[in-house]
């Protein structure tokens, strides 16, 4: 038996003493005559910043801007509604990841509420489970609701190939995979958000490698540090960003060397390329339509493409007017700037996706901000 913190390769990265030392280094090296605005792209990073109170350790002029890297949050409600509508079909079993189950769509419907009304919705931990369900239910149409950034895309690719190789006729994929570099480009292209550096995605980069970010250095003169998800990873990455800014460098640096290299997972990239292709444009919740920012199933795999199989049409579902998810996802507003944050919108009754997904910044602020004197960032001193 061990105590709660007792895992090798995790413990070392949650060392509070080392964290304070890193925070002191940041405070010493960050110039007092300027501000530093760094965007952490990933929801996982936002979550860790809040959970460990890291923003309270940073000096006031080093500020974190929360990015859109929460796959559940950026999924437009219209796409969610497609899944709910599919699930309501009598012969369909819809397989979805756990954090999608409670996301509110049109008229506050969710996959969970659809399930209660008789829809066959199964929570799966991966595409393999969806394939198994399809094999076990040969008379049903099993649809895998595929979402996520590059981290989860290869598992969808594997499922498509397995379905083809197995000659499965009752399995299809509703593909909503989106691309990190495209979203980052879109945010940097807008002048609403000013960032001096980016804490780059960790898990995504295990797949795509660090090379795809290199153009941000040349095109946007922006330093990027790919970071792991533990508090030490994040603080070390912020320190690396401060140093790049101070030295006028704009390079892609890799703090997460224990998992990420320049090339990424080439085998996974090939699999994705074999089964999926770029969409011309894709709607992101909060960010709007972004060109070449998402993937769809290749025509060669059309037999396993739910959009083709069920002749799905695009749906547009508007966000609740009071919900500031869009601005929050672009880093323009903080969760605490939203009028309905923690009042009308809570994890029990989420109005927007940033609250319902545990990766969302509103959820992170709600979970970890309360009980402190103020919201995480505002407490910084």
């Amino acid at each position: 038996m061990s105590q709660l913190a007792g895992l090798p390769l995790i413990d070392e990265f949650r060392d509070g003493v080392l964290a304070r030392k890193l925070a002191a280094d940041i405070a010493r090296e960050a110039r007092s005559d300027r501000e530093y605005h760094f965007m952490e792209f990933c929801g996982g990073h936002t979550h860790a910043l809040c959970r460990y109170g890291l923003m309270e350790l940073l000096p006031r002029h080093v500020r974190m801007v929360h990015g859109p890297g929460c796959p559940v949050c950026v999924l437009p409600m219209g796409r969610l509604q497609q899944a709910i509508d599919l699930a309501m079909k009598p012969n369909v079993i819809l397989c979805a990841y756990g954090d999608l189950m409670r996301v509110p769509g049109k008229d506050r419907q969710s996959l969970l509420s659809a399930k209660a009304r008789g829809a066959a919705v199964k929570l799966v931990l991966g595409s393999g489970e969806a394939l198994r369900i399809a094999r076990e239910n040969p008379t049903k149409e099993v649809v895998f609701f595929a979402i996520g950034f590059e981290t989860t895309t290869p598992t969808t690719a594997v499922a498509l190939r397995a379905a083809r190789d197995g000659g499965m006729t009752n399995f299809s994929v509703l593909c909503n995979h989106v691309l990190t570099p495209s979203a980052l480009s879109a945010i940097l292209a807008s002048d609403q958000v000013k960032v001096d550096g980016v804490v780059g995605p960790g898990h995504v980069s295990t797949i795509i490698g660090s090379a795809p970010y290199e153009r941000f250095g040349t095109e946007h003169h922006l330093p990027i540090v790919i970071a792991g998800f533990e508090p030490i990873d994040l603080l070390a990455s912020i320190l690396m960003l401060v140093r790049q800014v101070n030295e006028g460098r704009h390079e892609v640096e890799n703090q997460f060397t224990r998992a990420v290299n320049r090339e990424g997972n080439v085998l996974a990239q090939k699999l994705v390329d074999e089964t999926l292709m770029l969409r011309d444009s894709f709607e992101w919740r909060g960010l709007g339509a972004i060109a070449a920012s998402a993937l769809k199933v290749r025509p060669a795999f059309a037999a396993w493409d739910a959009e083709v199989k069920f002749s799905l049409e695009d749906q547009v579902v508007k966000d609740h007017p009071a919900c500031a998810c869009g601005d929050i996802l672009r880093g323009v507003k903080r969760p605490t700037d939203c009028k309905i944050f923690a009042t009308a919108c809570t994890p029990d009754h989420p109005m927007g996706a940033c609250m319902v997904s545990p990766e969302g910044s509103c959820s992170a602020y709600f979970l970890y901000g309360r009980g402190r004197q103020s919201a995480p960032q505002e407490r910084a001193s």
Partner: protein, 350 residues
């Protein structure tokens, strides 16, 4: 039973038979199921009396009654099954009332087509669990639902226990700021064990459910400390949820220390992987106890003497808090809230 005339033409086919609708109709077929399966397994003088209810002899005192229904899936999991769980869960609920469990009732809801082999395995497991806990199963009921209307087998058990004379029943209202919170062992074993049975998850070391009857541990605790303020078994929702129920009911807060909360490394690792928190994962053989600060050390020593309390630990204190927060001081430094979750924890995608 052996002296009775032969009532049933052919013995129940426990190897290959399946539950049929008639097994729940109250006729002879059901009687055979009771005679050949339930009675030999749960043998007690109350059951042998074959009355609708059981007559229990109790002295002057207070009874504690608790009931629970078990609909777990999968039915068999590492370290237990729905049968042992149905015994342990209800025995523990009675024991958490400070009572000595005296007897259990059992109600089966069986789905037509359910293999008798599996039912026999469940029944044997219930019988063994009841025997080990020293709590007889004294009356029961069987219903069969049409194929497709159930999930194999649902079990309800009701437990009755007696509060020993002179013992003040533990109750949420008795917790007050300054009191100490202890747990009897590692948190989250059952919940994560159930999750690990999913096909897509396999861990190097098999993780067993902690399903166990806690009544003997409770008695040992009372011998060491006659006044326990609160006793709870943190089942669904885990330690965090149980503590939130208590703090919100009473209007106090609880402050835990992360470094002191026992969690098995496998459970911690699995939770890291799935984005779950072990403090929200179910336990079926653990208790949390709140006692006066002066009693805590003695209580901890007593708990550690019992096999089910070997990993017991003092994990935190009851504090004044109008917000009723359950907070945990992290090993990283600082505190975070263990919120009262809207529903069950759902695994995250990345």
């Amino acid at each position: 039973m052996s002296t009775r005339a032969k009532t049933f033409f052919r013995k129940l086919d426990l190897a290959n038979g399946v539950v049929e609708a008639t097994h729940g109709t109250g006729g002879k077929v059901m009687a055979q199921l009771v005679e050949e399966l339930f009675l030999p397994a749960f043998d007690s003088k109350e059951l042998r009396a074959r009355n609708d209810g059981a007559l229990l002899e109790v002295g002057a005192g207070q009874l504690v009654v608790s009931t629970d229904s078990y609909v777990v899936s999968p039915l068999f999991f590492p370290g237990g099954d729905i049968g042992s769980l149905a015994v342990h869960g209800t025995v523990n609920d009675v024991a958490m009332g400070g009572a000595r469990p005296l007897a259990l009732t059992v109600g089966f809801i069986l789905e037509e087509g359910f293999p008798l082999k599996d039912l026999a395995r469940i029944v044997a497991s219930m019988a063994a669990a009841a025997k080990a806990a020293g709590v007889p199963i004294v009356t029961g009921d069987t219903k069969v639902v049409e194929r497709g209307k159930g999930d194999g087998v649902f079990i309800n058990t009701t437990g009755v226990g007696m509060l020993p004379a002179g013992r003040v029943a533990p109750s949420a209202e008795r917790m007050r700021p300054g009191d100490v919170v202890l747990v009897s062992g590692t948190m989250g074993d059952h919940g994560v064990s159930i999750l690990s049975t999913r096909e897509s998850l396999s861990f190097e070391s098999e993780l067993l459910s902690d399903s166990a009857a806690l009544n003997s541990l409770v008695e040992l605790m009372y011998r060491a400390v006659p006044d326990l303020h609160v006793l709870r078994d943190p089942t669904r929702g885990g330690l965090a949820t149980t503590l939130n129920e208590l703090t919100h009911h009473v209007g106090v807060g609880v402050r835990l220390r992360e470094k002191d909360v026992p969690v098995k490394p496998q459970v911690h690792a699995a939770c890291e992987l799935l984005g779950l928190d072990p403090l929200y994962a179910a336990n079926e053989g653990k208790l949390l106890v709140v006692c006066a600060p002066g009693d805590a050390k003695k209580l901890l020593e007593a708990m550690k003497e019992h096999p089910l309390g070997r990993d017991a630990a003092i994990v935190g204190e009851v504090v004044e808090d109008p917000e009723c927060f359950v907070q945990i001081d992290t090993t990283f430094g600082g505190a975070r809230i263990l919120d009262w979750l809207a529903g069950e924890q759902l695994p995250r995608i990345c």
